[in-house]
Structure formats: structure tokens, C-alpha cells
């Protein structure tokens, strides 16, 4: 078998792996699951400044997670660490009326829904890696924060045509991190990369519902008025995988293309719903699954001049995996699980980098943007109550900008920020070459 045939055979196997990737199971219809945010963007402040358009370039230590095939571009061992701050504004329906006409009595004084946001600022080491490259292969070890999300909100009890939802007090705390190893090697005209990682999930959510003294009365979140509560908890570790390809133009290396598929794992969690107050005697939860969506990414990078780089990525995030075999959290609820929907989304990322290489300290300026379609959990059945709890969100456009400073030939620092309606991210990362 010659080299070309071997390459084709191996790549066909890779294609079959991608095609036959299995689906996964779901989370529940708890109110707090409406708008969970993940950190699927490629790590590194350089990438963030480019609007996450980095799958074609992947020419630094972030390749270990972004697209391991890019590791082959490095010629020196490289270590990297990134610190990110996330500011989430998670919208929720706080009060008002979903359907019917407002009566004007007490709290029923709005004919539409009034939205509010849960604002949370979080920060953490979001990425760290070490790459050891050789001529035809490279290995990397990395840590990545795949999700760090919090939300807390209280609703005043939304009115529908025939009833009023119980006012809700909810908190949600999700941490998903991973430690992994990636490997890359040459394969004919391609660079090919693989990776495996251990994901760790920590989930803790509590949603409590309260009754009001009358149908139209104002809300009082008093323990005595508590009706029921729902919890989602989990601490588990699972394996995840990723495969990537990278190709440079054969005429010159001005154009490069990267392709990556990341398989998200399924985590075991416990889901419970009970009357009264949560306590140590709370009922055992029922087993459910939290599925981290798979991501397919395709990136193009074009370098019209040595100083200028233009990148474009298309990422498909398979959020629909989160609602396969959906778990209805309220016992006895006959709602069809198929009515709970999250769409798969296609994100478009675009970024431009210009480098002033001949400064005493070379400086890179970056701008970018990306299209982040709505991926809220929503209800598409006929129940007003569920529609009011889990509603469709809005697509968002993110803008980003960044700066890179090559302090010495061995050390660089990058800074970037990404802004959108509901999530802002700031990052600083440092790279050291040995």
C-alpha cells in the first residue's frame, strides 16, 4: 500500500468515526437550565481577540485543545497559561403576563412579560498547556475550563390566561474542566491530531417555588410559603475525545485550513423534585445525564502579507444533544419530552490580525467578531406555563479586540476582550518558549 493510499484509508476511517459519533442523553426541564453558557471558543487571548477564528492558524500552545493538528507548526517547547473573566447577563422572565389580559389587580398589572437578567462575574485560570514538538510529531498536555457558569434569579410568578406560575427562586452553578493529552503527526500533506481528556463536572442547582397569599398578591419568598423544590447535582468524571486535521496550501503557506471535531462526554447527575423544604432528609435523586455538546469546527486562514492574517471559522455546536431522552423533573407531569428543544447552532467567527513586527517589542493588533445564534432551552408544546418558563432567546453578535506583545523572543503576552449583549469575556494569556 503506498503512502497516498494509506493516508486516504486512514482519513476515511476518521470520517467514519465522525459520521458514526453517537448521540447522548439529556438534562431536565428545570427552570435554571434555560440558558447555560459554555466556553467552546478556542482558548487563548490571541484567539479571543480574533473572534475565536483560529482553527486554521492554531500556531501556538492553544492547539492542544483548539485543533491538535496545529501542534506541528511549533518548533520549540512552549508553555502557556490563560486567565479569563466572564460576565454573564442571563435573561429570565421576572414578572408580567405571558397570555391573556392583565386584570389590573395586585401584581397582575402588566400585559406582557418583563425580563430581567441574572448578572454574574466569574474568573479563573481557563487554560494551561505545555507542548513538546519534534519535526514529525508533537505531544501536548493541557487544562481547559469548558464551562464556568452561574446564575441566580427570582421571578414574581408569571400570569397566563388561566393561572399564575409559582414564583421561583433559583440558583445554578456549573463547572466543567478537563485535563488532556494531544498528539499530532504528519500524514502526507496533512497534519493530523488526536486528543483524549478527562472531564470533571460539578453541578449544583436548586430551584424553589413559593405560593402567594392570594392569586394576585405580591411575592414573599418566605420559607413557610415554600411549595416544592428541584435539585440537580453531580460530581463526575468522564472521557472526551477530539480529532483534528490541518492543511497548508501546496503552492505556498499563505492559506491554511483546519478541521476539528470534539466529542463531549455524558456525565451522570442526580435530579430530584420534592415538596417542602430542601433538607438532609431530601429524597434521593433520580439518575439523569448531563451531556456536553459535540463541536465540529472548520477554519480558514489567509495571509495576504507577512504582517496581515485573516481568519474565518465555522463552528457547529450540537446543543440538540442536550435534549435527547429529556428528563421531566416534575413527577407525574405528562408533558411530551419532545416538546423541549434546543437547536444545533452554526457559529461564524471572523478575525484579522496585523503585526508590527519590526518594533522593538513586536505588537499585534487584532479585531474580530462572531455570530452566536440562540441556544436556550425552550418549550414548543401547547402549555402556556412551560412556554413562559422556557422561552426562545435571541441571536447575538460578539465583537472582540485584542493586543499581543512579544516581550522577548521567548515570551509573549496577549490581552483581549469579547463583548455581546449577554456575555462579556476578558482574557490575558502568556506564552513562554523554552
Amino acid at each position: 500500500m503506498n503512502m497516498g493510499t494509506r493516508n486516504r484509508t486512514a482519513l476515511m476511517i476518521l470520517a467514519l468515526v465522525v459520521v458514526s459519533a453517537s448521540g447522548a442523553h439529556a438534562q431536565s426541564d428545570d427552570d435554571s437550565n434555560g440558558a447555560v453558557q459554555f466556553n467552546f471558543s478556542t482558548p487563548g487571548a490571541r484567539s479571543l481577540g480574533l473572534g475565536g477564528a483560529f482553527l486554521g492558524s492554531v500556531d501556538d500552545a492553544t492547539a492542544a485543545y483548539s485543533n491538535p493538528a496545529g501542534l506541528l507548526q511549533l518548533s520549540e517547547p512552549e508553555a502557556m497559561v490563560e486567565f479569563r473573566q466572564w460576565s454573564y447577563s442571563t435573561p429570565f422572565a421576572s414578572r408580567g403576563r405571558f397570555s391573556g389580559t392583565a386584570t389590573g389587580f395586585g401584581a397582575d398589572d402588566l400585559s406582557t412579560i418583563e425580563f430581567d437578567t441574572s448578572d454574574e462575574d466569574l474568573e479563573d485560570i481557563s487554560y494551561a498547556s505545555f507542548v513538546y514538538p519534534r519535526q514529525n510529531w508533537a505531544i501536548a498536555f493541557y487544562y481547559h475550563q469548558a464551562a464556568k457558569f452561574r446564575s441566580q434569579f427570582q421571578t414574581a410568578g408569571i400570569f397566563t390566561r388561566t393561572s399564575r406560575l409559582f414564583p421561583v427562586q433559583s440558583s445554578y452553578d456549573l463547572d466543567i474542566s478537563q485535563v488532556g493529552v494531544s498528539f499530532a503527526h504528519k500524514w502526507g500533506g496533512f497534519a493530523v491530531g488526536y486528543g483524549a481528556s478527562i472531564y470533571s463536572l460539578e453541578l449544583d442547582s436548586l430551584t424553589q417555588r413559593f405560593r402567594t397569599s392570594s392569586s394576585f398578591a405580591a411575592v414573599d419568598f418566605d420559607n413557610d410559603l415554600r411549595i416544592n423544590y428541584q435539585t440537580q447535582t453531580g460530581e463526575s468524571e468522564e472521557l472526551g475525545y477530539l480529532v483534528g486535521l490541518r492543511w497548508d496550501s501546496s503552492v505556498n503557506s499563505k492559506t491554511s485550513i483546519g478541521l476539528v471535531y470534539r466529542f463531549g462526554p455524558e456525565f451522570d447527575i442526580d435530579v430530584a423534585s420534592a415538596a417542602g423544604m430542601p433538607s438532609s432528609q431530601s429524597p434521593m435523586g433520580e439518575p439523569a445525564v448531563f451531556n456536553l455538546p459535540d463541536v465540529l469546527g472548520l477554519g480558514f486562514t489567509f495571509r495576504p502579507s507577512p504582517a496581515l492574517t485573516v481568519s474565518f471559522d465555522i463552528d457547529q455546536v450540537r446543543y440538540s444533544q442536550m435534549v435527547e431522552d429529556f428528563f421531566i423533573i416534575f413527577r407525574g407531569d405528562s408533558t411530551d419530552p419532545e416538546d423541549f428543544v434546543i437547536d444545533d447552532v452554526t457559529e461564524y467567527h471572523f478575525g484579522v490580525e496585523y503585526v508590527f513586527a519590526n518594533n522593538v517589542i513586536p505588537v499585534a493588533l487584532r479585531v474580530g467578531g462572531w455570530w452566536d445564534p440562540d441556544h436556550r432551552l425552550r418549550f414548543e408544546g401547547s402549555s402556556d406555563a412551560n412556554q413562559a418558563r422556557l422561552f426562545k432567546g435571541e441571536d447575538e453578535l460578539h465583537y472582540s479586540a485584542g493586543l499581543g506583545l512579544v516581550i522577548t523572543s521567548k515570551f509573549q503576552i496577549d490581552l483581549a476582550a469579547d463583548f455581546s449583549e449577554n456575555a462579556d469575556t476578558a482574557a490575558v494569556s502568556a506564552i513562554y518558549r523554552f
Binding site: 493516508n7 486516504r8 518548533s75 502526507g188 503557506s253 507577512p306 523572543s409
Partner: protein, 350 residues
Amino acid sequence: MSQASFLRNAPENMRQRILAGSIVLVLAFTSNVQPVLAQTWQECFAEGIKARDQGRWKDAEDWLRRAINKNPQATGEKVRVYGMKFERYIPYFYLGLALFHQGDCRNALTNFDRSRNEGAVGIGGRSTMKGPEKKCREKLGITPSPPPPPPPPSGPTRRSGGIRGNPPPPPPPPNRRNIRPRVKPSLPPPPAPGGQNPTTTFKPTPQPTRSNRRTRVQPPPPSPPTTPQRGRGTPRAQPPPPSPPVKVIDARREILGKKAQEVQEALRRAGEWAGRLDRHLDRTRHAAFRQDPELQKRYEAAYRKLNSARTRLHAGEREGDLQAVVKAGSQAEEARRELEKLAQELGLGS
């Protein structure tokens, strides 16, 4: 069920997987594209630096020679290697390092000298150069050179040209002052006839010196002056030597040196054609290769032959192997013929 309706009726997830698999398959069927052949001088230089980082000194030498062929001016400007890793364009310095690590001290020193004279090495490499240079001088028994004059504040370190999009300047005439190395008294002088090729190796012809006799060739045990030994190939018309064994070696070296000089000249001519072709290809964005892949293969083959001739010449000089030097000469001639032919086919004149 037709294929189209199968796709329409397939679950969304399956459609997405089919799409992903199709992309991989398309790439799979195009994977017979050969590895990237870097074309611009920046790309050649970057590949040379990557090879240096990984200690692949022979590869580093080849890539750096390519970069020098395409842009002989050590401009000192920063070139992106990958990501945010930049290196100053001081190819003679890095070429010297690559040669040093391959044991070719003579040519390493020549390139260090050239780099110093270009001025750009002062920006980033002088301290790094000291160690290898000192070792080479010790190895060759050459007395340390006086400290180099400080580079001029605005001199050759920031020369214009060589930026992508602008073709690099044509190779200067052989004896142009700014590219001729200041040969130190302790170093062998460059060959006079034809001058040096500024776009290629800039290697001095190996002249026999006291130092290289001492370090490279073990003279046979001294014989009585009345019974001189004569080596094969020694010209018979030589006057009787006062110290015969050394003189025999001198004669051998002289022949080797003359032959090497001829090969250098052949390499210079081939290098000129290569440079002319490279500049044309850079200007036309390699349109000729896109139109005729066969042309690209011939070009690459000639280039490989040229590099092989250089390597063989170095080895021949190092080992004192006349056959290798002769073979290098014929390779250089073949490479020149092929490059000249290619240039004429592309309408670059004679």
C-alpha cells in the same frame, strides 16, 4: 428512496455527521498533495529557523541557503516563524551556526564574518556567535580576530527591499564592496577569479594554510630530506621540495583547491540562474507552476541538485576528497544547465 430524499428524511444529527464526514472525505481524496514547499524567502527562513530549533542542522542549512538565494540581503528585519515567534533576518549567522554544528568550521567562520560585516548580527546574535566562532578558530588554529567595529547606526541592518511583494534586489556585481567580506589576515582569502557569489554560499576557496595542515591532515612521519616521497597526482614538474612530505600534501591541496574554485564558480553561475528564476516566480506568484506542474518538478529537482552539489563540495573540502569535489562540479554544471533552460523557457533570456 433516492439519495436526496434519504438526506432530507435523515435525522438532523445524522445530516450533520454526514456533512462532517463528507468534509473529511474530500480532504482525504485530496491528500495526495505533497507537503508544502515554502516559496518565499520568509518561508524558507522560517523553515530554517524551525530546523535550527530542533537541531536538524542539515535541514537548517538547506533552508537557509534557499532563503539566501531568494534574498541575499541580511536586512535584519523580523520574520514571523510561526504564531508570534519572530527572528531577525540574519541568515548568514544562522547558516554559520548550522555549518558549525555539522563540523564545517571553515565555512561557518566565513558566514559569521559575512554576518558581522553585514552588521545585522549585532542586533541579536553577537553573543551567541562568540562561542561557536571561538571554537572554530581554536579548531582551525586561527588567531582570534580583533573585535569587530560597532555597526553603523543606520547601515545595512535596515536596508530596504526584500519585503514580500517587492522582489528582492538583483544580485550585486561580484566585487561590490558592501557584500565582500572583510577578510581577516588570519582567514584564508576568498578566490579572486570571478569573485564570490553573493547569492549563494560565499565560501572562500580552501587554500592550504599552516593551520589547516596542522588540524586536518596528519603529515606522515618526517623522512630524510634526501629521500623525498611523492604522492599520486603530484605534478612531476615541481621543483625539489625542501621538506617533501608537507609539500606533497600542499600539492594535493592545491589541486583540490583549484578544482573547488572551479566548482564554486559553477555553483555561482547556477545560483545566479536560481536567483533569477526565484525572483521571477515570486513576482508572478508562481503562475508558471500552477499552469505546468511538470515545470515545478524540474525546478525542484534542479534545486535539489544544486544543494547536493554544495553539500558534496563542503564534504569534499573537509575530507580532502578530490573525487567528491569533481562530482560536485558535475552536479553544479547539471543544475546550472537545467536552471538556465528553465529560465529560458520562462522567457528570462540568456
